[in-house]
């Protein structure tokens, strides 16, 4: 039995009729057409579907759409503002942190959640934060470099 819920995604409120077993990932991708969020395992193990919900990173494949009702959701599509890329997006591009790109949206959202909470993380804190986001291409080296570079660009160290 479908229920009508409202979802606030990237600042826009959508009314969607959802089955109670539909996941947030399912609704974002298949009903709102926001396919930037990736589906990799449907079991919360790979992190490719990471979005930010009320400021916290979540695996959207593990969140039921009905439980996301009235929450504030940010996906990769909502990160660039007026065509200007977020510093994390710029750093991933410039540092070579992107190869196949399938983990990238989830990885960037996880990194954003980290920097929102801890603007100047150490390398160990960065690695800890993205430990639930799998990447097979990069060995994480340039991803970690990118996140640290973005952190520096957004919050320059005090002299």
């Amino acid at each position: 039995m479908k229920q009508l819920i409202s979802l606030k995604v990237n600042g826009t409120t959508h009314e969607v009729a959802v089955e109670p077993y539909w996941t947030l990932l399912n609704v974002i991708r298949d009903h709102l057409g926001l396919t930037g969020t990736k589906r990799g395992c449907d079991s919360g193990d790979c992190g490719a579907c990471t979005v930010i919900m009320n400021g916290k990173p979540v695996n959207s494949c593990l969140v039921l759409a009905v439980d996301a009702r009235d929450r504030d959701i940010l996906t990769i599509e909502g990160l660039a503002q007026d065509g200007k890329l977020h510093p994390l997006q710029e750093a991933f591009i410039e540092k070579g942190g992107i190869q196949c790109g399938y983990c990238t949206p989830g990885m960037i959202m996880m990194a954003k959640a980290l920097l929102d909470e801890n603007p100047r993380p150490t390398e160990a804190q960065v690695r800890q934060a993205i430990a639930g986001n799998l990447c097979r291409c990069t060995g994480y080296v340039k991803i970690v470099e990118a996140i640290l570079a973005a952190s520096e660009a957004m919050t320059p160290a005090k002299p």
């Binding site: 926001l34 396919t35 193990d45 790979c46 190869q99 196949c100 790109g101 990069t138 080296v141």
Partner: protein
């Protein structure tokens, strides 16, 4: 050294921005009106006769649009390499997961329920899971009709199969007289090494959408593949469609690593779309994917004879590859057989390389092109032998390594050999010769490989404004193809990189390209593109010569300007030439390039494997590591890895560093932690909780050393760079663990449990001695 304008620089990837913003379209993102969803019924048994299949309940379920079994599809065998399977299992199943039926329904849940409603009666048959057992006389025969099978469209070589056995491939390599070699040796080492099964671990699972148009009889396919033209060839053959009626449309691919080299699951959405006339999407769940794609397990029986000074005089090897229930990896027995002895000048070599069926899932290619498995054996053996002879293992390698003009085991003379250079550099970087401290060990390993030489073609179109369309079917699977190939095109044409646009492939519009396997894109597609760009450039210069009233030989292109040598006041620009070509002079400029390379495998002597040479882009490398072993737990901590690759010429060093980073962590994963575990042929750990991919916590920092010994054959000397650094890592780890704590493990993976148990045995032995 020529001065390059575009290549050799760390240009940013041309596909990065769309991937960073979520705009990149992968197969799962293709949404078509009226889309149906497919699910497949798979065998729960490793080997069984199919007695009855009843789909009647499934067919009547609301929302179900089609249920197919072997009764409903063309009944001939198919396969890209060996034509040994049907679209659906016929009469019997040969591995857990063998596909019996497929359903298309309005959503995935309905399709799955319908699959579960299909009734099948089986009669179980004796199974065999161990590849050596499968070779023995009296083992259950998995393919009774074996000697009658035809080769598929992806297999190019003469091939031996043994009827009445499970041996579906056998290749031989013979050089010198191996018996005499062993007789003349001062020391002969003989042992068996085993390599386990592991998973590719791409984050995008296999996915395919097929859309059949009954009016035109044409099927359009979006699929997550490394080889779009092989997908077309396979589907064309499987469904008896001419190639004009199969179109494979490109999307982004979320990693491949060898797991997306053989079309397989594509046949189900295609069959269902042909039946329903509606587009059908199939996405493998992660547990399906882990239980359907893997590397081949391998057994290496190795015998090596050396002189007291460490000179290798003879090598005999039985290389046994486990293909699983179908021969998707029979090419492994051929593979680069001439590479198996490692990068060493050995006068006497005898190799028998087998591909053998077992009742496990079919094995696929894997990053490193079959070289991680034999390299583990050869490089472990070299360290063992060095220690027994009291020699320095780096010096032993240095003594035997190929150099300029060496003749390899298949009779090919080698050129541009960067082997010694790589070894010296990593040995120095890791501090070879120092004592690393308690429970710490260091090791240094050499290796080589070559990219398979298969056909590529490309078209370079110059637009009216002088910008460039590079049309080539090489897929971008994350390895940086699109950027590197655009750079090669820009360099040859003399234009800036941003003037070149390379759209994603579409088999209807892009010329043939054999696909992303074994590092071949840079050399094969790169050469085709360089030829096409040179063709376009020559045409542009001919028009410019006409415009400037000079000889075209006197012209040169620089940054899009066409200059007359020795007459700086006379010049024009590429945009002006292109505009003229489109309106009044000569017609639009279209450059064309085809490349096949100098592959002489077809002339290979079947008894000796001797041939004129497979590739002139042999590449060399060396890797070193320092590890620390916890003697209480057996846990191996990787402290440092140094990675040297002879890439010929680095087209884009930033991308190559990224390839090294990923390749090494993948190598560490498969050496230390990862294993596809089987229980009676069924995968026991089909999810990312139980199949442990390395996370950022396991990531290590690398020292990258890019070595450039230009290939006479590669575009601008390039040899390709994507896979290399996965090859030696297992051997590096095994040797470093031995160096740290004195335990030698000969079967991968090198888990903490195995290290701990070996340490326990070591303690028991030394206690016994006292």
């Amino acid at each position: 050294m020529p001065e390059y304008k575009v290549i050799g620089r760390p240009a940013l990837r041309v596909d990065a921005a769309e991937k960073a913003t979520g705009k990149a379209v992968y197969t799962q993102d293709v949404k078509l009106p009226g889309l149906l969803y497919a699910k497949v019924l798979r065998s729960p048994y490793p080997h069984a006769r199919i007695l009855r299949v009843d789909t009647s309940v499934a067919e009547r379920m609301p929302g179900v649009k089609a249920v197919l079994t072997i009764r409903d599809v063309p009944q001939h065998r198919t396969g890209l390499m060996l034509q040994d399977h049907y679209i659906f299992a016929k009469d019997k199943v040969r591995h857990v997961g063998d596909e019996i039926a497929a359903v298309a329904a309005v959503d995935e849940e309905t399709a799955q329920k319908a699959v579960e409603a299909i009734e099948v009666d089986y009669e179980e048959l004796p199974s065999v899971f161990d590849v050596e057992e499968a070779m023995r006389e009296g083992a259950p025969v998995i393919h009774e009709d074996l000697p009658s099978y035809d080769m598929g469209p992806g297999h190019q070589y003469p091939h031996t199969m043994k009827g009445g056995t499970n041996i579906c491939g056998l290749y031989k390599l013979r050089k010198g007289d191996v018996d005499k070699g062993f007789q003349g040796a001062d020391y002969v080492f003989e042992d068996t090494f085993k390599v386990h099964t592991f998973y590719h671990g791409y984050i995008e699972p296999h996915a395919c959408t097929a859309s059949y148009d009954p009016t035109s009889g044409k099927v359009t396919v979006w699929t997550s593949t490394q080889r779009p033209f092989m997908a077309r060839a396979y589907l064309s053959k499987t469904f008896n469609l001419p190639m004009t009626k199969v179109r494979v449309v490109g999307t982004r691919v979320g990693g491949g690593f060898g797991g997306k080299t053989r079309p397989r699951h594509e046949r189900f959405p295609v069959a269902l779309s042909m039946k329903t006339g509606r587009p059908v999407n199939m996405v493998m769940t992660r547990d399906e994917d882990i239980a359907a794609y893997c590397s081949p397990a391998a057994v290496v029986k190795l015998k090596m004879g050396v002189k007291a000074d460490g000179a290798i005089v003879a090598l005999a090897m039985d290389m046994i590859w486990d293909t699983g229930g179908y021969g998707e990896s029979i090419h492994y027995s051929r593979g680069p057989i001439e590479a198996l002895p490692g990068p060493y000048d050995i006068p006497n070599v005898k190799i028998d390389s087998y591909a053998v069926y077992t009742n496990k899932m079919p094995a696929y290619s894997y990053r490193g092109r079959i070289m991680p498995q034999p390299t583990f054996a050869v490089e472990s053996a070299l360290d063992i032998i060095s220690e027994r002879l009291g020699l320095d293992p780096v010096e032993v390698r240095m003594k035997n390594l190929f150099q300029e003009g060496s003749i390899n085991a298949a009779g090919q003379a080698l050129h541009s050999v960067g082997a010694r250079d790589c070894l010296q550099k990593v040995a120095q970087a890791i501090g070879w010769g120092r004592a690393p401290g308690p429970n710490r060990g260091i090791s240094v390993v050499s290796y080589h490989k070559y990219p398979p030489t298969q056909a590529s073609s490309a078209v370079v179109r110059l637009n009216e404004d002088g910008t460039v369309q590079l049309i080539c079917g090489a897929p971008e699977i994350g390895q940086g193809t699109q950027t590197a190939l655009s750079m090669i095109c820009a360099e040859e044409l003399g234009v800036p990189l941003e003037d070149v646009s390379m759209p994603i492939y579409d088999t209807d519009h892009t010329p043939f390209e054999a696909g992303a396997i074994g590092d071949r894109i840079t050399t094969c597609a790169g050469n085709a593109i360089r030829i096409a760009a040179a063709d376009a450039r020559a045409q542009a210069l001919a028009i410019a010569a006409n415009m400037l009233k000079v000889n075209k030989e006197d012209l040169t292109v620089e940054d899009g300007r066409i200059l007359v040598r020795d007459a700086p006041e006379m010049w024009t620009t590429l945009p002006r030439v292109c505009a003229a070509a489109h309106t009044r002079l000569g017609g639009p400029i279209v450059g064309r390039g085809s490349y096949l390379g100098n592959d002489s495998m077809l002339e290979m002597d079947a008894e000796t494997g001797q041939m004129g040479g497979v590739s002139r882009s042999w590449k060399y490398g060396a890797q070193a590591a320092e590890v620390e072993v916890d003697p209480q737990t057996g846990e191996v901590k990787v402290l440092k890895v140094v990675c040297a690759q002879d890439v010929g010429k680095a087209i884009n060093p930033l991308i190559i560093e990224g390839q090294m980073d990923g390749a090494v962590l993948m190598g560490l994963g498969l050496s230390l932690w990862e294993e596809t575990a089987f229980d009676e042929g069924k995968v026991a750990n089909p999810n990312f909780m139980d199949y442990r991919l390395p996370t950022a916590m396991e990531g290590v920092s690398l020292e990258h050393i890019i070595v450039e010994h230009a290939s006479p054959d590669g575009p601008f000397g390039a040899k390709g760079a994507g896979e290399q650094s996965t090859v030696p890592t297992a051997a590096v780890m095994a040797n470093a663990i031995y160096n740290a704590v004195g335990v030698r493990i000969k079967d991968l993976p090198l888990t903490a449990e195995k290290v701990l148990s070996a340490l326990g045995q070591q303690r028991a032995q030394s206690a016994g001695r006292i």
